[in-house]
Symmetry: C2
Subunit: 206 residues, 2 copies
Amino acid sequence: MRIAIIGTGNVGSALGTRWKQRGHAVVFGSRDPSSSKVQKLVAATGANAASIRDAVADARVVVLATPWDATQGSIAAAGDLTGKILLDATNPLQNMKLAYGLTTSGAEKVASWAGGAAVVKAFNSTGAGNMLIPDYAGQKPTMFICGDDAAAKQVVSGLTEEIGFEAVDAGALTLARYLEPLAGLWIALAYAQGLGPNIAFKLLRR
Amino acid sequence: MRIAIIGTGNVGSALGTRWKQRGHAVVFGSRDPSSSKVQKLVAATGANAASIRDAVADARVVVLATPWDATQGSIAAAGDLTGKILLDATNPLQNMKLAYGLTTSGAEKVASWAGGAAVVKAFNSTGAGNMLIPDYAGQKPTMFICGDDAAAKQVVSGLTEEIGFEAVDAGALTLARYLEPLAGLWIALAYAQGLGPNIAFKLLRR
């Protein structure tokens, strides 16, 4: 599958690395694809890099892994996203606090900016280290996803399970109002509470 | 420990049952302690029942397990809560949606209504069935708690672990802004998504 990843920070790098390893055609979209940072990532992963617009052009799945304040601009730079699956891994954090919630969410903002795309929230509620190694003594962490397009969720769910998570569908895109606070909880536990980033949520069932 | 439980629904009944089994002095506080519903609970658990004010009077820990719209009135009926630990197991749900969030929380409302009490949010993000049997093939679910009083959190943490959960301190009472959406997620998964109530969150560590 052709996957464009917008954002070359920890999360974008981790997801690109994993999906490239799984044989997907991964291209990092960047405002500056020839920068040494992006070229190092290309060399390390074997993925390609291009402008955001070129990266997105032929991609079936576009992964948003941008800092919140770069998100709207990156979507604008991507051009027409009609018919594409937009995997929103962002969180609307400003000064480490959620800027949206309760009656809306970052994901709903993203959907409003990305007309025609099928937005699926995923990979926002865990750390990049877990994306690289989603293994806890043989137990898989759970990745909660949500979105309004069932077929798009199925694709994202498959990509999620391919790299070692258990995917759990939490419902409509409005459920991002719960999944973004879950990211807030993860961050608070890892950093403010000092548990460190080797923690992950799992949904137990019986 | 003397524990008053305000609310005789599923959550209050489950917590009262468990702590009574553990040897604590449990008293259910009710507007109508002689009702057949409360008396059945007394007969089933061996706990006592009294008016809310009498139940609370000598309790070290007061558990709020009320429907949201009865919460403020129940706190008012309790009288002086100065120096007591107020374990807030409620969620500010109206029509199954959170009425507060992002910039405040039900727990912060509770604290504003219960002057002098040390409010600890706990037992809001799982179902009553898990409180009765917190066992998933030998794995303990995690109970996230938060509050501003470290000593009070230690007491609640102990009570939480006594009945089979792993307690994890998420931080200050403002963290309820994340723990109440976690309840929203649990409810959505159990009911809207049809997974049923035999699900629980666990924090994996490595």
